[in-house]
């Protein structure tokens, strides 16, 4: 299943909640304010690094660009809207919002 998180990891525990449920290898997609989790150096970085050990983690490029995030934590795959559509086609969507 594809778990999407659209809230900042420092003002919401949605990412943590998603990770408690997501099975190993289930993809996690950060979008909207969720992309703040992709920014290196934030307090939430350890959570994301640990998620990357068992999940593919994606971040939506246009949402990164909007927020001035030009670098992401190593291992996160940046995708565009076409990539988002591909993920949705391949998996059942579980939105955490």
């Amino acid at each position: 299943m594809l778990h999407t998180v659209n809230k900042s990891p420092l003002s919401s525990d949605n990412l943590q909640c998603a990770l408690r449920v997501a099975a190993a290898d289930s993809p996690i997609l950060l979008l909207e304010d969720g992309v703040y989790a992709a920014r290196p150096g934030a307090r939430s970085e350890a959570l994301v690094v640990s998620a990357l050990r068992s999940h593919p983690v994606y971040a939506l490029g246009p949402d990164l660009q909007a927020r001035g995030i030009d670098r992401v934590i190593q291992g996160i795959r940046v995708i565009d809207y076409d990539g988002f559509v591909e993920l949705v086609e391949q998996h059942t969507l579980v939105p955490w919002q």
């Binding site: 920014r39 934030a42 246009p62 909007a66």
Partner: protein, 113 residues
């Protein structure tokens, strides 16, 4: 005015900016405090063109021209996001939580955005 939300994901920061312009029209004294995810509103390099939105950070440096000159940013909110004052689009005084409460105590009203 307390700015606590990240830009683009909700309408709060944009509405806060609109309210600041309104306060400026009436020439009322105003301090603007950025804390928690609100500090992201001032981060350099925002480009929401792909979302068909206007870059919010670009508006704040113009506020001193309309008479709003007191800007504060919470030190801990910056630090826990891996940010420093150099990452921001404008100069704002970096202050502690205790200092923020003192600033708020000197205000007639607190507007949360």
């Amino acid at each position: 005015m307390l700015m606590r939300k990240a830009p683009y994901g909700s309408v709060y920061p944009a509405e806060g900016f609109r309210a600041m312009m309104g306060v400026a029209v009436f020439e009322l004294p105003l301090c603007v405090i950025f804390l928690d995810d609100g500090v992201y509103t001032l981060v350099k390099g925002q480009d929401p063109s792909a979302l068909e939105m206007k870059p919010l950070g670009a508006g704040f440096p113009t506020l001193p021209d309309v008479g709003i000159k007191e800007f504060y940013v919470h030190d801990q909110s910056l630090a826990e996001r891996g940010l420093t004052a150099a990452d921001l689009v404008m100069q704002a005084r970096v202050v502690s939580g205790t200092e923020i409460e003192k600033i708020l105590a000197g205000c007639a009203a607190v507007l949360p955005f």
